[in-house]
């Protein structure tokens, strides 16, 4: 079973671009357009792969190293995050907080690369990304805490197993966690209302900003990393905060359904909700923190258990 889940984990890297692709397609349909096919990200990656990367004048090793490092961080994250409660033994552990550290390393690499180019637009976006991540990281870790409460462990496999079945839904804590995790997904995948993945106006972008100076295979790495971030977050959300039960096969089926459902939710939110003013985002994330703290309090007090 672990070997099988290792295969699914690795396949996640190949399937990841499908997620932003299908969200874009769904969104277009919801808005009455035909839109690009769900395979469009693969075509984009293939197009970029055949182009040469470029070096802006005056950049050095940090700019040169950042895209492979970001992609490597996401690859390691794929190895850490289990699927349907199981994971292959890659020897990297399965700790939730190590995952947070890896995402932070990727964020730092991109911000440093933005400084290396000296591009004002890239830096503007990097500064916003890091500002939001201050509140986002607090929220992410609190949501992980809620998921860890019933497992008494920060091992993602144990957390997924503990969230299986229907009993967990009888207390309010898990509901709080699920609600807050939606915010985490929106933030980490860079979707509306926090960030707009469709915009290519330099003044408004957040996650796309530091990518401005990259081209060719460098840009392909970064596009893939953004897609892999979708995979990590949606898979995590589906197995920590969506109902699942039964053996590995049943859980895997429910996981696929859950990820597809979450893609639909994201498309729906993007259709219905305009982008927030950037300075309002911390308040939104703060509300998420308050919800999770309430959840932790109710769990420890034993409400509904």
């Amino acid at each position: 079973m672990n070997a099988l889940s290792a295969i699914v984990q690795i396949a996640g890297g190949a399937l990841a671009p499908l997620l932003p692709g299908s969200i874009q397609t769904l969104k277009a349909r919801l808005q009455g357009r035909r839109g690009p096919s769900a395979l469009q990200p693969y075509r984009t990656l293939w197009r970029l792969w055949r182009k040469s990367a470029i070096d802006p004048e005056g950049t050095g090793v940090v700019y040169w190293l950042a895209p492979p490092l970001v992609a490597a961080c996401l690859l390691a994250a794929l190895a850490i995050v289990p699927v349907a409660g199981h994971a292959g033994s890659f020897g990297l552990g399965h700790d939730a907080l190590v995952l947070v550290g890896l995402l932070a390393l990727a964020r730092f690499a991109l911000a440093a690369a933005a400084w290396d180019t000296g591009n004002g637009f890239a830096l503007m976006a990097a500064a916003r990304d890091l500002m939001i991540s201050v509140f986002g990281e607090a929220l992410l870790i609190l949501v992980l805490l809620i998921a860890a409460l019933s497992a008494h462990s920060s091992d993602l496999r144990a957390m997924s197993t503990a969230a299986a079945g229907s009993h967990i839904w009888s207390g309010p804590a898990h509901w709080c966690g699920a609600l807050a995790f939606v915010l985490v997904i929106l933030l980490e995948t860079g979707r509306q209302p926090i960030d707009n993945p469709d915009t290519h106006l330099e003044l408004t972008m957040i996650h796309e900003g530091p990518l401005l100076e990259y081209g060719g295979r460098d840009l392909a790495f970064l596009h893939w990393a953004a897609a892999a971030r979708h995979w990590v977050m949606l898979v995590l959300g589906a197995q920590l905060f969506l109902p699942h039960w039964g053996g590995f096969a049943a859980s895997l089926g429910l996981l696929v359904a859950g990820v597809a459902g979450l893609c639909g939710v994201l498309a729906l939110i993007e259709t219905a909700q305009a982008k927030l003013r950037i300075l309002r985002v911390p308040a939104l994330l703060g509300i998420g923190c308050a919800i999770t703290l309430a959840g932790v309090g109710m769990w420890v007090a034993g409400v509904g258990a």
Binding site: P56, E57, G60, L65, A104, A112, A138, G216, P282
Partner: protein
């Protein structure tokens, strides 16, 4: 045992000799001898730490001087040696061209001896004597090296605040000695909760002032930046840790039963210090001041680990109590190492470029690959990025706080959850801050001609920095080799509670195999670099909407922090002044000045100082200078006393 003791004594003597040599004009030789002395002391510390035995005298409540070492002292001594030896190697090439070099060199040895003395003191008098020396010697060294008025005022603030707050240390230790409780926790347990509370609070305020806990921190960002680089490194790296050593001794070992409120208080202090420290670090424009504020952040993080340890002990979880304690100690070591590295780096940069104003640097990684590379590693370590040492200890402290939230009572669990979120936000803020520092100092294009012409410092300075950077990497790769030993130092722990691994494999976590993770990241990055192949396109200028790239468009420190400053405007309260000069309807020039004052300076210290001065001016009216008035005072006093005696109030 005899050999170890002799080694430690020889080390201290050598250190003293090194100081004398420096004073006699053989500065470089003196610093090398000091290095040898610190190495001997460090070896003795490691031997005591791993051997688990007690060297020399045990703790006693008398006033007869006594010296000795136990494993906890041994750990701090080892960390002191690990930071001091590279710092002294750095100083060998750094110090000779500084003002007052000979005196500063001798005072460095005196300072190190005072630090070692606090760790080795086993009785009341020698502890307090070394403790005061530890405060006074660096003040003297700074005054010798820098003579301007601003520095004198900073040193005055340093001495005033640390002595006012330091009274807490005296109160705590004298109360302990009065009850015969130094080294004997049972004695204070019988003395009642009143004495216990007094000791706990006194130690928290006294040692907390010296450690730089907010709100008692105001001296730290003033005093640390004005010292010569190697002294800044030792002050920020070790002096404030020695204060934490005192805090651990009193609160963890001599208090008898530890009350729950103390754990919660440490969590609160740690949370406020870590968040406050990093927030005000973000808005500094001077590199050394920024680093000093980060020291406040990091002692806050250590306090979070210590508080979690107390709460676990209270909740009956001895294993996690030991792990949280070890996490705090590991962060002590890690912070000492990367903070020393960063301060040394700041010194090297200042030598090379002549300024530490963040907006005046840039492009130094390429021009100073050794110093810049080491500085980059230190920055990534302090930002808590895997796989460096800062992440290992922050991961352990985060895990501890996460597990605090599992256990009742509700208040403790919620405190753990809030502290957990606060520490996560602190880590993200530190990331923001050091992304800014790395970008402004090391990357991009040079912002001044001096930066373009900068070259790497001489060998000694490079070697000191590289050694510390290597330590950052090694401790990040194999934290699991150190942590089990440290868990054995926790009060109530009988031997190590964890097995020896390279990584951190702890029950209740998903485990952090640091070495494997580092290997995986390096291999994957290398493979991806290889897959990417060569670049075929020619270099292009950066995209600025088609405009030419000019220096005036360079992003600044204030600009990078602006989003956060806008969000937290109510807390940070920036002050800015914009002057627009017009003539004939045309704008001729615009000058902008902005700074963010420390909230506690404006809302706590300034009003207190104003009230104190006002009270003094009222009291001054009593001093008329006329003999008759003083005679009247005396007469009033005598009559008052007679009335008191007559009414029998005094019994």
């Amino acid at each position: 045992m005899g050999l170890l003791g002799a080694g430690a004594l020889a080390g201290a003597t050598t250190l003293g000799l090194g100081g004398l040599l420096s004073a006699c004009g053989r500065l470089r030789a003196g610093l090398v001898v000091q290095c040898a002395g610190m190495t001997l002391l460090g070896v003795a510390g490691v031997a005591v730490l791993t051997g688990g035995e007690v060297l020399g005298a045990a703790f006693r409540s008398t006033i007869a001087p006594a010296l000795g070492l136990d494993p906890l002292s041994g750990f701090f001594l080892a960390v002191l040696a690990l930071t001091a030896v590279p710092t002294l190697v750095f100083a060998r090439d750094y110090l000779p061209s500084s003002p007052g070099a000979r005196a500063v060199g001798a005072l460095t040895a005196a300072f190190l001896l005072a630090l070692v003395g606090v760790l080795a003191a086993r009785d009341l008098t020698s502890f307090l004597a070394f403790w005061e020396l530890m405060t006074l010697v660096p003040a003297a060294a700074i005054l010798v090296a820098r003579r301007d008025r601003a520095v004198r005022s900073a040193i005055y603030a340093y001495l005033a605040i640390t002595h006012l707050g330091g009274a807490g240390v005296w109160i705590a230790l004298l109360t302990l000695a009065h009850h015969g409780a130094i080294g004997n926790p049972a004695a204070l347990a019988t003395a009642g909760t009143g004495a216990q509370t007094l000791v706990a609070l006194g130690a928290l305020v006294g040692f907390g002032t010296k450690a730089g806990f907010i709100p008692l921190h105001a001296w730290l960002p003033r005093a640390h930046p004005v010292a010569p680089a190697h002294l800044s490194a030792l002050m920020s790296g070790m002096m404030i840790k020695i204060a934490l050593y005192g805090l651990i001794r009193v609160e963890f070992q001599w208090l008898g039963a530890t009350p729950r409120w103390l754990g919660l208080a440490l969590l609160a202090v740690g949370l406020v210090s870590s968040l406050g420290g990093v927030l005000w670090a973000l808005v500094q424009h001077d590199l050394k001041r920024l680093l000093a504020y980060h020291s406040i952040e990091n002692v806050g993080i250590i306090a979070l680990g210590l508080g979690a340890s107390l709460l676990f002990a209270d909740a009956g979880q001895p294993t996690w109590a030991a792990i949280a304690f070890a996490a705090a100690l590991l962060h002590v070591a890690n912070h000492a190492i990367f903070k020393a590295l960063l301060f040394l780096g700041a010194g090297a940069l200042e030598r090379a470029v002549g300024s530490l104003e963040l907006d005046h640097l840039g492009g130094l990684l390429r021009r100073m690959p050794w110093a810049g590379g080491a500085f980059l590693i230190g920055s990534m370590a302090i930002a808590g990025l895997p796989p460096l040492n800062g992440f290992a200890s922050e991961w352990l402290i985060l895990q501890s706080l996460l597990h605090v939230a599992f256990y009742r009572p509700l208040g403790v669990a919620l405190a753990g959850a809030v502290a957990l979120a606060g520490l996560a936000a602190t880590a993200a803020l530190a990331l923001l801050c050091f992304a800014k520092v790395v970008g402004l100092v090391l990357l991009g294009s040079p912002r001044r001609a001096e930066c373009a012409a900068a070259v790497d410092p001489p060998l000694g300075m490079r070697a000191g920095m590289v050694a510390l950077a290597v330590l950052c990497v090694v401790l990040g790769l194999v934290p699991g080799l150190v942590v089990p030993t440290l868990t054995g130092l926790a009060p109530g722990a009988h031997g190590a509670v964890l097995a020896l691994h390279a990584g951190l494999s702890i029950p209740g976590t998903g485990s952090f195999p640091a070495l494997a993770l580092a290997l995986a990241l390096t291999t994957l990055t290398a493979v991806l670099v290889r897959v990417r192949g060569r670049r075929r396109a020619a270099p292009t200028p950066t995209w600025v909407c088609g405009q030419p790239v000019v220096a005036a468009l360079d992003w600044t420190s204030a600009a990078f922090v602006k989003p956060l400053r806008l969000v937290l405007e109510t807390l940070l309260r920036p002050r800015r002044a914009v002057e627009v000069e017009r003539s004939g309807g045309m704008v001729q020039s615009i000058t902008y000045a902005g700074h963010v004052p420390s909230l506690l300076d404006t809302s706590m210290y300034e009003p207190t100082i104003r009230a104190g001065l006002r009270a003094a001016s009222v009291a001054r009216r009593l001093q008329s200078g006329s003999v008759r008035t003083y005679a009247a005072y005396l007469l009033g006093l005598v009559i008052g006393l007679l009335v008191i005696v007559h009414t029998g109030v005094l019994g």
